[in-house]
């Protein structure tokens, strides 16, 4: 097994990675397909399930800046438009194995999510 030195990803330490995957809460059907997603949305509680309000203070935010209020929003998936799998770096200690879904919500919004087949965690990511 080859140790992941990280050199392939960011050889320059001054580089800051972007488009990192963001964890989301996904409800799955019996066949393992995503049916709904709960995400934290900025702004007022206009969602269908305004259940949780928490203050997410960003690290390093000046004291005078008002805290950002995020609300948990559950969105139902009406269709899965595309699906693809990525298996990469299987020779390393942390291989990549993802199953991507391009999903469409009832409100007409499109989103790309994937399930990490190693950890079982769901993420959203621009593809």
């Amino acid at each position: 097994m080859v140790q992941n030195s990280g050199k392939t990803l960011c050889p320059d330490t001054r580089l800051r990675r972007i488009n990192l995957p963001e964890p989301v809460s996904v409800e799955e059907s019996a066949s393992g397909l995503p049916t709904s997603i709960s995400t934290l949305e900025k702004g007022g509680s206009r969602g269908i399930f305004p259940l949780v309000k928490d203050l997410v203070a960003q690290a390093g935010t000046p004291v005078s800046t008002p805290p950002v209020i995020k609300t948990a929003v559950k969105q139902v998936i009406i269709s899965i438009e595309d699906r693809w799998r990525i298996d990469d770096e299987w020779w390393r200690s942390e291989p990549v194995s993802r199953l991507y879904y391009a999903v469409l919500f009832a409100a007409g919004k499109r989103l790309v999510i994937y399930k990490d087949l190693i950890s079982g965690q769901w993420y959203k990511q621009m593809y």
Binding site: L9, C10, D12, L15, R16, I18, P21, I86, D88, Q125
Partner: protein, 396 residues
């Protein structure tokens, strides 16, 4: 093509007398330096009574003939200044005036018949604009060379007009008057050809075989035919500035300071018109009346003093002064406008520099990079977060 030849014999010497009347009546030789160092002197002009001297004769030879003469260092800028004024006056009479050399001018007469119906009127008008101090000799002929000879052999205060008798007039003149190379003149003498009439009588073939292309020219001139065109003066603006130094100096810096002062005057005149210097002539006069002159040409017009002075400094280092300088000046001989330069279509470099300074100040104040630009890392990667990354905009 009818041409009036205007000859001012001993022009340099007469200029000196006009400036310093006290030397009138004395035998004098006007000298010019052969090289920049001024070590070798040649005769430029002399007073009329010193027969046998000629222009270009080394000073030693001249002194061997006439030991008791006054030696005057030539002031070429002054002579040309006087001569230019004289040409300006001649241009009041005819638009076609050529200053061939110091003391020799040609005036085109074609088309002036309606203004001057008679040659006598024309000559009278011309004489009125030339000072009598210069003892002008005038001659009219169908070409420059015969007009020159007509003026040369005209009586003082008179004028010789050559028409159909030009052949007879030239036939008795010496071949030494021909404006050809010294080698050709010596060759003519060696062939026993003493007069222009003898040369004109020869068929063109043998002359060409002996003298090459110059042989044909020699025969034509000897026959009184000269088709050399008249080159009228071009109207151009000339700016002249000069200064007398408070004390004589050999210091390069002192000379540059004085030239800088003169240039500032020039640029004050040029700046409002958006003009720059295309070419200029620098001159100095040493305390021993040595004359030094050099010309400068600019590939692109010089628009400010700094760029001009840097070129002048290089020139002065390459061509040293013949002695301590007491007077200097410059003559702007060419003006030009600034060339167009293509600039960046997008943002100006200076604005970019200012932006970069602001970004660095922000980093210093916040303790780390705050502004980033997107950089491709592995754009081909199937894993999205590995395709692009942020890098500090300041590059630090």
């Amino acid at each position: 093509m009818r041409i009036l030849g205007v000859l001012l014999p001993h022009f340099a010497w007469r200029c000196e007398i006009w400036r310093r009347p006290e030397i009138a009546g004395r035998s004098a030789i006007v000298l010019q330096s052969k090289d920049a160092g001024g070590s070798s002197k040649l005769v430029l002009d002399y007073s009329p009574e010193l027969e046998g001297l000629q222009r270009g004769l080394p000073l030693q030879q001249a002194l061997s003939r006439y030991g008791e003469v006054e030696l005057i260092q030539a002031d070429i800028p002054h002579y040309w200044s006087v001569f230019d004024d004289l040409l300006d006056s001649l241009e009041l009479k005819s638009p076609l005036v050529e200053g061939a050399e110091l003391g020799c001018a040609y005036v085109g007469l074609d088309g002036l018949q309606s203004i001057y119906p008679d040659d006598g009127i024309l000559i009278k008008e011309v004489r009125e604009v030339i000072s009598k101090n210069f003892d002008p000799r005038l001659g009219i002929a169908g070409g420059k060379f015969p007009a020159y000879l007509a003026a040369l052999y005209s009586p003082p205060g008179g004028c010789r007009i050559l028409t159909s008798d030009v052949g007879d007039f030239l036939s008795g003149l010496s071949c030494e008057v021909l404006p050809v190379s010294l080698k050709s003149r010596n060759k003519l003498r060696n062939f026993g050809l003493r007069t222009l009439g003898q040369v004109a009588a020869l068929p063109p073939g043998p002359l060409q075989s002996q003298f090459g292309p110059e042989g044909r020219k020699i025969r034509e001139l000897a026959a009184g035919f000269d088709d050399t065109p008249l080159y009228p003066r071009l109207t151009r603006e000339v700016i002249e500035e000069s200064a007398v130094l408070s004390s004589i100096t050999v210091s390069l810096e002192a000379l540059l300071v004085n030239w800088e002062a003169l240039l500032s005057r020039v640029f004050m005149k040029l700046a409002p018109r958006g003009m720059g210097l295309r070419s200029l002539a620098l001159w100095t006069r040493s305390w021993k009346s040595e004359y030094w002159e050099q010309s400068l040409r600019f590939k692109e017009p010089a628009m400010d003093i700094r760029s001009t002075i840097s070129r002048i400094k290089l020139l002065l280092e390459g061509f040293p002064q013949p002695g301590p300088v007491e007077r200097l000046g410059l003559k702007i001989t060419g003006l030009g406008r600034r060339h167009g330069h293509q600039r960046s279509l997008f943002s100006e470099v200076r604005a970019q520099d200012h932006l970069m300074d602001d970004i660095k100040q922000l980093e210093t104040r916040m303790g780390g990079p705050q502004i980033f630009r997107i950089k491709e890392v592995e754009p081909w990667s199937r894993i999205p977060e590995r395709r692009y990354a942020l890098t500090p905009a300041s590059g630090g």
